[in-house]
């Protein structure tokens, strides 16, 4: 940082140090709560305070042996995977179409496709509750999967669309001129290049569904309660250490998703670097 031009005068140095100090405090603010709750899940006592009376895995044991928690984990997985697959299908097709479509209505269509991200969750949930109840889709897996797909697809359209934007269409033309059928060209040329984008889209979609709780609150019956929904009632009633165990499990999933995404991004940057 010695070449940093903002460090030439004492006042600039003070400003820079202040930036570092404030940023450090903000980083602590961002991370500390998540870190602070983790050790509590390994406590042998049932109070959520430090110092821990001893270490144990009893709360994880509790989690694994509780049909309520395990069912909710299973539900989260079923709904998450199903809505990821469905949103990948719809979102990738739409992104491919939008990349080629030229029309003055395109911004309007794009705004519509992305609007589920902006509209407050409660509004979507209330609308779906009224709309799905008469046709028997409340209290069903299908209803939740459809609703989560609607929320997740915008992220797929954004990530896959961004990948397509950097995709060199000449490669597809080259494949065609060398005699590849459109399907073959897609499979052997286009797909490998946009695969990281597809994978990021899938991760976003899964995370969106896995984290969603407002729609589940309105639409899920007792059979379809997901992990966040179970945590919501757990926090409402009283926070037992089992919730902290659930929180650690959820956070682990997030870390895996984030790490995979970061890996994809690095791979992408490396590929771009080598082709330049």
């Amino acid at each position: 940082m010695s070449d940093n031009p903002s460090l030439r005068t004492p006042s600039q140095r003070i400003a820079w140090i202040a930036t570092i100090v404030i940023s450090t405090l903000v980083f602590i603010f961002l991370i500390a709560p998540i870190l602070a709750i983790m050790p509590l899940s390994f406590s042998s006592g049932s109070y959520l305070t430090y110092p821990l009376p001893g270490l144990s895995l009893r709360w994880y044991d509790d989690f694994i042996n509780s049909p309520r928690w395990m069912t909710s984990l299973k539900n989260s997985m079923i709904i998450g995977v199903a809505s990821t697959l469905l949103s990948m299908l719809l979102g990738t097709l739409a992104a491919l179409g939008l990349a080629q479509w030229k029309s003055r209505f395109k911004p309007l269509v794009l705004a519509f496709v992305l609007s589920p991200v902006v509209v407050p969750g409660v509004i979507t949930a209330v609308g779906l509750y009224f709309f799905f109840a008469p046709i028997g889709l409340t209290g069903s897996y299908l209803g939740l999967i459809l609703a989560h797909t609607a929320l997740a697809t915008p992220f797929v359209v954004i990530t896959v669309g961004a990948t397509l934007q950097s995709f060199d269409t000449n490669l597809a033309r080259a494949a065609a001129s060398l005699g590849a059928s459109p399907l073959y060209a897609f499979r052997r040329v286009i797909l490998p290049l946009i695969l990281p984008g597809l994978a990021s889209g899938a991760l976003f979609a899964f995370a969106t569904s896995f984290d969603e709780v407002v729609i589940v609150l309105f639409m899920a019956g007792p059979e379809q309660r997901t992990l966040p929904r179970e945590m919501f009632s757990g926090i409402r009633e009283n926070i037992s250490p089992t919730i902290t165990a659930a929180a650690v499990i959820l956070t682990t999933v997030s870390v895996i998703l984030l790490a995979t995404l970061e890996g994809l991004r690095r791979r992408n940057e490396r590929l771009k670097g080598s082709s330049a």
Binding site: N4, S11, A15, A18, T19, I20, I22, S23, V26, F27, F29, L30, I31, P33, I34, A36, I37, Y47, L48, T49, L90, G91, A94, L96, G97, L98, W101, A111, V113, V118, V119, P120, V122, I123, T124, A125, V126, G127, Y129, F130, F131, L146, A150, T153, V157, G161, S200, D211, V213, V214, P228, M231, I235, I243, T244, A247, S254, L257, L258, E262
Partner: protein, 420 residues
């Protein structure tokens, strides 16, 4: 062949080629649209349709005309100036008897009670005490004897107002307005006029959270944009990890930290700073802290993208031209971050407006935002008209702000700043 005939042949060949290209392009466009269509239809069914349905519910008003059809028909010709004539009373008596038989009186009673407190009692007591169809010409007397409210003009204007099939009643109620006996729009009675203050509270909490995010996010974004890429990528994890951590986990973490025997209070007590535990949660403070924590990454990421795009050469140029650091920062650097500040602030504000889970879990009764009331009226009291009207107002505000956001980030990397 002469040059002239050559160009002539070219011109002839050009027309079909042009047409062929045009046709191919049109086919391509149709194919592209066909790829987008499944998603559009899907969203129509799972998103736009439901929201349109909710908006329709905010003006839908058919309960009373279904339960009291004859009364509504007679009142259609009533000018509302004096009490309606005998015909209306007879129609009402007949409607109430029919409604009693089919068990639907309660539906109309519930709807009318929203408009006039106590109407439920008026209608149910009448239904209970009305023995049979009154003799012709005595309906007015019979009903008024059962309940003197039938001699009040307000009782009848309330029914007329609720005749449907559409009403502005719920939308007016969402803005603390109502129609008086003469049909003029006036302020609602104080015991029902709570929504303006709920909207104000929603705005104040969202604004405070946006301001906190900006104050905390600006230095972090500046640091991340200034550090060499290796280091800033490492520090970026501190921003992205919370971003990817479940909302419920983060909310749960704040409760564990801030509750009266939580980590923060225990530590402060242990350090001897406080004797009594501080009240840090289930109040406005807790809501603002938890919401700032959740929304801070949405401020840092757009700010970071806009700062990353500022060339250091500008600051060097300013310095070389003799600008003191503070002047250079205020006049050169800060103006260039304004689009990022605008985008980040709007994004945080829009997201904060619709918050439900965090205030519901870490807020007290006086910190519940508009979403809480929408949820409450949907699932608890089943006042769907009012829930939909409040939702319509929130949706309108959100979409207007999103429109401004769209204009603001137009031309910037919209998607790049959002996530990742």
């Amino acid at each position: 062949m002469t040059a002239a005939s050559l160009t002539g042949a070219d011109a002839q060949a050009e027309v079909p080629l042009k047409r062929r290209l045009k046709r191919a392009e049109r086919a391509r466009q149709i194919k592209a649209l066909a790829l987008v269509l499944p998603l559009l239809l899907f969203l129509l069914f799972t998103f736009a349709g439901p929201i349109a349905g909710m908006l329709w519910r905010s003006v839908d008003d058919r309960e009373v005309r279904q339960v009291l059809p004859q009364t509504v028909a007679v009142l259609a010709n009533w000018d509302g100036k004096d009490l309606p004539d005998e015909k209306a009373y007879a129609a009402l008596a007949s409607d109430i008897l029919a409604g009693r038989a089919s068990g639907t009186v309660a539906i109309a009673a519930k709807r009318l009670n929203y408009a006039l407190n106590g109407f439920r009692t008026i209608l149910t007591s009448t239904a209970r005490n009305l023995k049979a169809v009154p003799e012709p010409g005595t309906a007015k007397e019979t009903l008024s004897k059962i309940n003197p409210a039938w001699r009040e003009r307000t009782t009848w204007t309330t029914i007329k107002d609720a005749s449907g099939p559409m009403t502005g009643f719920y939308l007016l109620a969402a803005l603390d307005l109502t129609r008086n006996v003469d049909g003029a729009i006036v302020a609602a009675s104080p015991d029902q006029a709570i929504y303006r203050s709920v909207f104000a509270r929603t705005f104040i909490i969202s604004l405070s959270v946006t301001a906190l995010c900006l104050i905390l996010g600006f230095p972090v974004a500046y640091l991340l944009a200034t550090l060499p890429p290796g280091r800033s990528n490492l520090l970026m994890i501190f921003v992205l990890l919370p971003f990817w951590t479940s909302l419920l986990v983060r909310t749960c973490a704040w409760i564990v930290l801030l509750q009266s025997n939580g980590v923060v209070n225990d530590s402060l007590h242990w350090l001897g700073i406080i004797d009594e535990p501080l009240r840090l949660i289930y109040n406005r403070f807790g809501v603002c802290v938890a919401m700032t924590h959740v929304l801070l990454p949405f401020m840092i990421l757009p700010l970071y993208s806009s700062m990353k795009a500022i060339s250091p050469a500008y600051m060097r140029a300013a310095a070389s031209l003799g600008a003191p650091p503070v002047t250079a920062f205020l006049r050169i650097y800060l103006p260039q971050t304004l689009p990022g500040i605008g985008a980040g602030s709007l994004l945080v504000f829009i997201l904060a407006l619709g918050y439900y889970i965090t205030p519901a879990l870490v807020g007290g009764a006086a910190d519940q935002m508009i979403s809480y009331f929408i949820a409450l009226y949907t699932t608890e009291t089943a006042n769907w008209g009012l829930a939909s009207a409040l939702g319509a107002v929130l949706l309108l505000v959100t979409l207007l702000l999103a429109l401004v956001y769209g204009k603001l980030v137009h031309g910037q990397q919209v998607t790049g700043g959002m996530k990742n």
